[in-house]
Symmetry: C2
Subunit: 199 residues, 2 copies
């Protein structure tokens, strides 16, 4: 029998994706579930809903609440958190690199390092130099990986994955899929893992 | 020492308020926390954010997800659920009656009965006859309560409570407040209770 699988759809600019990226491998291991990492871009998904910015910026009461909620949740999880001086940051390059990481098996530590840079260290993850440095700390050849990430085929793969997200009915991140079943938000990670085990 | 208190802000048309109304008294009793019931109307709060309808209607992917999520959560909680044939229903009269119930000490069973009518029995809770019947099943004098609920002072009290919700930064329901701390969504009930105990 094959092991249960949860698809993990996340975006590097997304605050609640930070929480899930940091804890999903531990939670999945404890539940004996495999994770398929699905980096994508929220920008096009939000545009299709009529938002040209993060809803947390468009609707200030939601934004004020979210930053406080995130601070509380990070404390509860024992995660470092510093409110980024820019939000949302551009997650395009990081998402392209993450797709290479999915193929090569290092997406999880890469994603944790980028999320930590964005949400705990207030670093500019949209800049190539920052991504190259992160790759270096993971023992990966930064320049080579960037070249692979920026190749046309990989750019297209990310575009297709983002279109697929909208087709699947995703409207935010993180989202989890088990078969046809969709779970939205860091709060639903445990439910998604349980669903995969029972499916 | 006084017992810890959580303010519970809810709206009868709100799907996730259904889940919280049905479980909050049991959860609060287990945590040794008192609940202050704060019925209010989401309509004016949403209008201030630019929404003239429920966001679940305005953004179809969010709506599709919400109905499935609610179905799953109701099953998990062992709650009956039938998708209402009209959404959102008008919760104005029920909210006015609930304010009377807060004064007279029967708001909790009344709220559970109205929520069950809306989200498990597909009944038209905006109609006076339905509310009168629900009051009757609770052993309350329906016509008298309606008269009190529709008195100018009570109407004004609900209007003020709704304006207060927006002032406090609420943007959805259910919401919970502990001192100045805001928690949004049925998923945060346990966190709000824990915060009240530690505060």
């Amino acid at each position: 029998m094959s092991r249960p699988v949860v698809e993990f759809w996340f975006e590097f600019a997304s605050t609640y994706s930070y929480l899930s990226v940091m804890r999903i491998e531990r939670a999945a291991a404890a539940a004996d579930v495999d994770i398929e990492w699905k980096p994508f871009l929220l920008g096009p998904v939000f545009l299709a809903l009529g938002w040209n910015d993060s809803p947390f910026n468009i609707y200030p009461p939601k934004g004020r609440y979210m930053w406080r909620d995130l601070e509380r949740l990070a404390e509860k999880e024992g995660l470092p958190f510093r409110r980024p001086s820019r939000f949302p940051r551009n997650g395009l390059l990081a998402a392209r690199v993450a797709l290479v990481g999915v193929e090569e098996g290092w997406v999880a530590p890469f994603a944790r390092a980028v999320m930590t840079a964005n949400f705990a260290e207030d670093r500019e993850i949209g800049e190539e130099a920052v991504i190259v440095e992160i790759l270096g700390t993971l023992g990966l050849p930064g320049a080579e990986v960037i070249t692979r990430a920026q190749a046309d085929a990989n750019k297209l793969a990310l575009r297709c994955q983002t279109e697929r997200a909208a087709e699947l009915g995703l409207f935010g991140a993180p989202s989890f899929r088990v078969g046809e079943e969709l779970f939205w938000g860091n709060d639903r990670l445990e439910d998604a893992l349980a669903w995969a085990r029972r499916a």
